[in-house]
């Protein structure tokens, strides 16, 4: 089973094998990849099908049907308040932390419904990690920021190797290798954000969700994150919400354009999903055209 039942959790492999290799090459996941190889949707690591998201009676997101392709970067763009972050959080059941949240439809992760009753949401959040807008390292040392989650997750391998591997993957190692015991909070904003990415990698995710990961950073730190994303997508799948359309155009392979479509209900949905090059050169939907050319926002 690809995911993620409570009974599975204790039996999962230690992430040691991940230290020197990508998540999908670990034994357990490889089986999943092989089992999916004959499946027409093998390239879709995640897929929203008829997905609607409610906060109480309020339907924030309606009828979203998009695939998230493996080892690609998918950007979610759209004006404020159209449900981009809500949709992103639905991909790792983070919305459930808000009381009264409910969903309809399904989100398939490696072909299985994330919202199935046997699925453990905590496990989901390990496998589908998240990086937030504001860097939020733990008030602990740089080393412990990486090690803590892995330790709780039952990591039994060499912790030093894991920490180094994650920091290298997050392009932070050279900047922090001599001060691993310093507080993560002492780093610059850009470094803190890369530390948060490294922390996400430590628990061996398949997918990394990024909610405006560079909006609090200066242009140089932003470009570092963007370059890092290009490296990370070789081993991980990334979904990013961004208000910065140039950023979406620069980094992503696919783009989902969201818009409030129901004026009365204020429900948002994906109005166009396509290759990023298409969205930014010749979108099909006039509303997308108006948004990416800055005529509507």
């Amino acid at each position: 089973m690809a995911i993620i039942s409570r009974s599975d959790r204790r039996e999962r492999q230690s992430p040691a094998s991940h230290v020197f290799g990508p998540a999908q090459e670990t034994k357990g996941d490889l089986v999943v990849a092989q089992s999916l190889s004959n499946h027409e949707n093998a390239k879709h690591v995640l897929e929203a099908k008829g997905l609607g998201i409610y906060y109480g009676d309020f339907r924030a997101v309606a009828d979203v049907n998009i695939p998230i392709k493996r080892h690609k970067i998918t950007a979610i763009i759209g004006p404020s308040g159209c449900g981009k972050s809500t949709l992103l959080r639905a991909f790792n059941r983070m919305n459930e932390l808000v009381p009264g949240t409910n969903i309809e439809g399904e989100v398939l992760f490696d072909g299985e419904n994330l919202y199935d009753s046997v699925v453990d949401p905590v496990e989901v959040r390990y496998r589908i990690g998240m990086v937030f807008q504001k860097p939020n390292p733990f008030p602990k040392s740089i080393y412990e920021n990486i090690a803590w989650g892995a330790r709780i997750h039952g990591f039994k391998g060499k912790m030093d190797d894991l920490v180094e591997s994650c920091l290298r993957q997050a392009a932070l190692w050279d900047e922090v290798k001599d001060k691993l015991n310093q507080s993560g909070l002492a780093l610059s904003g850009g470094q803190q954000q890369r530390l948060c990415i490294a922390r996400t990698l430590a628990v061996q995710p398949e997918v990394i969700l990024m909610d405006e990961p560079a909006s609090a950073l200066d242009p140089i730190a932003t470009l570092k994150i963007e370059e890092l994303m290009q490296e990370l997508k070789k081993n991980y799948t990334i979904v990013i919400v961004t208000h910065n359309m140039q950023q979406a155009a620069r980094v992503s392979d696919y783009t989902a354009m969201m818009m409030l479509t129901d004026r009365e209900a204020h429900s948002g949905t994906v109005i166009e999903f396509d290759e990023t090059t298409r969205i930014f050169t010749n979108p099909k939907d006039k509303r997308t055209e108006d948004y990416v050319t800055g005529r509507f926002g």
């Binding site: 359309m245 140039q246 004026r263 930014f280 979108p283 997308t288 990416v292 005529r295 926002g297």
Partner: protein, 241 residues
Amino acid sequence: MTTYKETEDIMLRKTFEHEIQQVKDDVLLLGSMVEQAILNTVEALKKRDIKAAHEILSADKLINKKRFDIEHKLMILIATQQPMAHDLRLLASCMEIISELERMGDYAKGIANINIRMGDAPLLKPLIDIPRMAQIGVDMLHRALTAFVNEDVETAQKLPVLDDEVDALYNQVYRELMTFVIQDATTIERANWLLWVAHNLERVADRVTNICERTVFIATGDMTEIKSTDDEFWKTQKNGS
């Protein structure tokens, strides 16, 4: 929260819109400079007016300058406004179109240079078909630029067919000049001059087709070649028929 409908009447990017309109106006202005140069250069040749030919050379410098000015404006707009989608296609296509126009200006200059090089030598024959070629080429260019401004895909796709008329006239001029050369080998140089003039005008019409292709691209996003029967013309030349 605002919905699409609530803000669709709000004029966002007014400054950018204004600057795009200015670029379009500049392209039209460059186009009319080129049209005038083509008509003037053929008229100067027809009258064997060397002074007018020199004026064409000066006018070409203004055409080149205008092209660089527009290119500079386009670069600044691309750098500062980060155009996307239709805006991007429009600005990128303007870059192509001004290059086509500038080359057409060079053809007019080439004809003026031939006029100057001919010195006192009289025309081998009165010019009838060559001014027709120029007029059709200029008409095509004018209509192509109007189609560009209006993003009129239908006209842009139909216009290149007129290129066939120019090709037919070129074919006619070619055969006529060959007759002169066969009859009297001393006419070779003068025949060659006129053949180059006709060739330059034939190329003008070809470049109009390129502008039409850009117009289709701006409006639809489709980057395709519009077929004229130009290729067929060259096939028949190759076969010697």
